[in-house]
């Protein structure tokens, strides 16, 4: 019987000098799902991916992929994988279709470049040089290259970093299409909204370790029934934090932006309005919302994802 997990790793360790970039990481990637490694820059996401892509070798740990246990990802495994590298590049003086043809030649069997061009919506750029493409178009081409061998497992390492909102949404649309086509995707990102939108499973990484794993809903639910209240109090933020401390689970002041986690929203709002009236301070840009993955990370590490 076929295993539910397409890939699993156990106790993966990679050390650079004194730094343990990957520190005993274990996880399983279910078939036909988007599995996301979420964490800030330097958390060890990319190093983990590079080991799984075959670029680096782990110091220790086990990798099982497509039902085979491997020390290092081999050629046969690469035939069934597609990879979008973080900040990867292609020959700037090749045309888009030529890049796809080149990469198609590396695999025993590959899709037609025209079919892939349609899928990544780059048909009109097929005869353009890579160097003339926009950031979003280059990233779509990179996804096209990752899909040229019709892989079962696709690695997307920070696919939308540095892209504008429209380009990000285009990439998200392609990834959603891949999921619908039954591809298994391992995604890394430091964008909370990307992880929430695309993933079935999210593993949060920090300092080379996995600190939480589950569906986005499971992770946010782990914070309990709390609600987040955020507002801007400028120079009086410290006074506001002090006044609200007694009526909430936690309060943070970040350069005038006050963020309050509370189980009793009514009591917290009442205290806030009382403080505002007594101190004569106008509360600006107030938001009341449910917790997200950013709050989960904050709760687990005391830091924000992009700190």
């Amino acid at each position: 019987m076929e295993s539910a997990a397409l890939m699993s790793v156990a106790n993966l360790v990679k050390t650079y000098g004194e730094v343990r970039a990957v520190d005993g990481v274990s996880f399983s990637v279910p078939r036909a799902e988007v599995f996301t490694l979420l964490g800030p820059n330097g958390a060890g996401k990319t190093t983990t991916l590079e080991i799984l892509e075959g670029i680096r070798e782990a110091d220790s740990g086990e990798i099982e992929v497509f039902g085979r246990k491997l020390r290092r990802v081999d050629r046969a495994t690469k035939e069934r994988m597609g990879v979008l590298l973080q900040e990867g590049n292609f020959e700037p003086y090749l045309k888009v279709r030529e890049v796809l043809r080149l990469f198609a030649s590396f695999f025993r069997s590959a899709r037609s470049p025209n079919e892939v061009l349609r899928e990544i919506a780059l048909e009109e750029k097929a005869a353009s040089l890579v160097k003339t493409l926009s950031g979003g178009q280059k990233q779509r081409l990179a996804i096209g290259v990752a899909l040229i061998n019709d892989p079962e497992l696709v690695f997307l390492d920070e696919p939308t970093t540095g892209l504008d909102p429209q380009a990000r949404r285009n990439i998200w649309s392609i990834v959603s299409g891949l999921t619908a086509a039954g591809k298994t995707i391992i995604l890394t990102t430091h964008y909370m909204d990307e992880a929430e939108t695309l993933s079935q499973t999210v593993s949060i990484m920090d300092h080379g370790r996995l600190i939480a794993c589950g569906t986005p809903r499971e992770l946010t639910s782990s914070l309990g029934q709390e609600t987040i209240v955020e507002f801007v109090a400028g120079e009086r933020a410290a006074g506001a934090s002090e006044a609200l401390a007694a009526s909430c689970r936690s309060v943070r002041n970040e350069a005038g932006l006050v963020s309050v986690e509370t189980d009793d929203l009514v009591a917290t709002l009442r205290r806030l309005l009382d403080w505002s009236r007594e101190a004569g301070v106008a509360v600006a840009d107030m938001v009341v919302r449910q917790p997200n993955l950013e709050d989960v990370f904050l709760s687990l590490t005391g830091r924000r994802l992009r700190e």
Binding site: I55, L85, E91, Y93, F103, F106
Partner: protein, 399 residues
């Protein structure tokens, strides 16, 4: 095999599309060939009234009157009179130098257009004339005037020298009261191109430019592609596919050889059709030397790539070694008498041996080194470069 061909095609296509690369591998060699051919190809042809003549006097025995007379007569024409320039600029051997070596060097200079003619006075000439004057036969020995066939300046200088020799002979015999037309001193005109193709300076320089083009392509093309590809993660995108380094390298080398072939054909065609060069590059032995040169400079490029940490560092290093290796390789002019420090560079420079070997096997100049030595030195460079590159070169960005 498909992957190897695809990588090779990528190498060629990108080289042809990138202006900077295109300049170095194609425009620069063609431009240099054109400039050298225009500047030096017709030395002494137009408007020059002073001919560079070498006089090699091997008849230095005491009382060698005829030899001394020829030298003196030529010397008179090398002295400027009033405002006009002298007819000849004489080049003679230093007192302590070996006349045979001097003659060989001057014949090389004649081949590449730096001399209009070389006058060789054989040993025993004067005695031969004296014996003939008192006997009944013509002198056995002759003054030899070497010229470069096809060059007007060389033909003119040789004719003038012949006239002067005839005058010397005449005055000598008249003074002796023994002048006899039948026994007059003979002059043999020896045309360098008489027994083969007529070689000119362009023929000398085409093999040099061919070697230079291969050198520049390897020196700049390899580190440029590998180091920038590594730094910009172009190569990394290959390593996450089934393509491995040996297959990539095979494709890269094949593409490089294709570029070298395009370059050689263009250089040869320009030399042949624009400047009338006769040099035959596309024969088995020259092709062997050219193939070895391509591989040697490919390996040398990998050596540079393997010792540089960054792409910019690699290009800077290539620039540093480019000039001394190119100009101390004798590609554009003979490396006669270099200072010892520069000579040391010349003697370890693969460019020297490959340029020399190519000229030797194409017959455009006498080789200074045996062919086996030249090919051996190039092979040694390939081995050293391959060893260093396989030890030091990294194909992916490190951490």
């Amino acid at each position: 095999m498909t992957a190897i061909l695809a990588v090779a095609r990528t190498y060629v296509v990108t080289a042809c599309r990138e202006r900077e690369t295109l300049f170095w591998f194609l425009v620069f060699p063609l431009l240099l060939l054109t400039l050298l051919a225009l500047i030096f190809g017709n030395i002494g042809e137009s408007g020059a009234m002073t001919y560079d003549i070498a006089v090699v006097n091997l008849d230095t025995a005491p009382g060698a009157a005829a030899a001394a007379g020829v030298v003196a007569a030529l010397g008179q024409l090398s002295v400027a009179e009033g405002e006009s320039r002298p007819l000849f600029r004489l080049h003679t051997a230093a007192a302590d130098s070996d006349p045979g070596t001097f003659l060989a060097a001057e014949l090389d200079a004649l081949r590449i257009g730096r001399r209009a003619a070389v006058v060789e006075i054989p040993q025993g000439l004067s005695a031969s004339i004296a014996a003939a004057a008192h006997g009944s036969v013509a002198a056995e020995l002759a003054v030899r005037v070497h010229k470069s066939g096809g060059r007007t300046s060389s033909d003119m200088a040789a004719s003038i020298v012949e006239d002067i020799v005839a005058q010397v002979d005449h005055s000598l015999l008249v003074r002796m009261g023994l002048y006899d037309e039948a026994r007059a001193l003979r002059v043999e005109r020896l045309d360098l191109g008489a027994n083969a193709e007529t070689f000119s300076y362009v023929d000398f320089v085409v093999p040099g430019i061919a070697i230079m083009g291969l050198f520049v392509s390897g020196l700049f093309g390899v580190p440029g592609t590998i180091l920038f590809g590594r730094e910009r993660k172009v190569l990394r995108a290959y390593w996450v596919t089934p393509l491995d380094v040996p297959h990539y390298f095979a494709g890269f080398a094949l593409g490089h050889l294709a570029i070298c072939t395009i370059q050689l054909v263009c250089v040869w065609a320009l030399g042949r059709f624009a400047f009338g060069a006769h040099v035959a590059l596309f024969r088995p032995l020259p092709l062997l030397v050219l193939l070895l040169a391509s591989v040697t400079f490919l390996a040398f490029g990998f050596l540079v790539a393997s010792v540089a940490r960054t792409a910019n560092g690699g290009m800077a290093l290539a620039n540093i070694v480019n000039m001394p290796m190119m100009f101390l390789g004798g590609l554009f002019y003979p490396l006669g008498q270099l200072p010892s420090a520069l000579r040391a560079i010349m003697m370890v420079n693969p460019v020297t041996y490959l340029g020399d070997a190519l000229r030797g096997v194409t017959g455009t100049a006498a080789a200074s080194f045996p062919l086996g030595v030249s090919l051996g030195v190039a092979a040694a460079w390939i081995v050293v470069c391959a060893l260093v590159a396989s030890w030091r070169l990294t194909w992916d960005v490190g951490r």
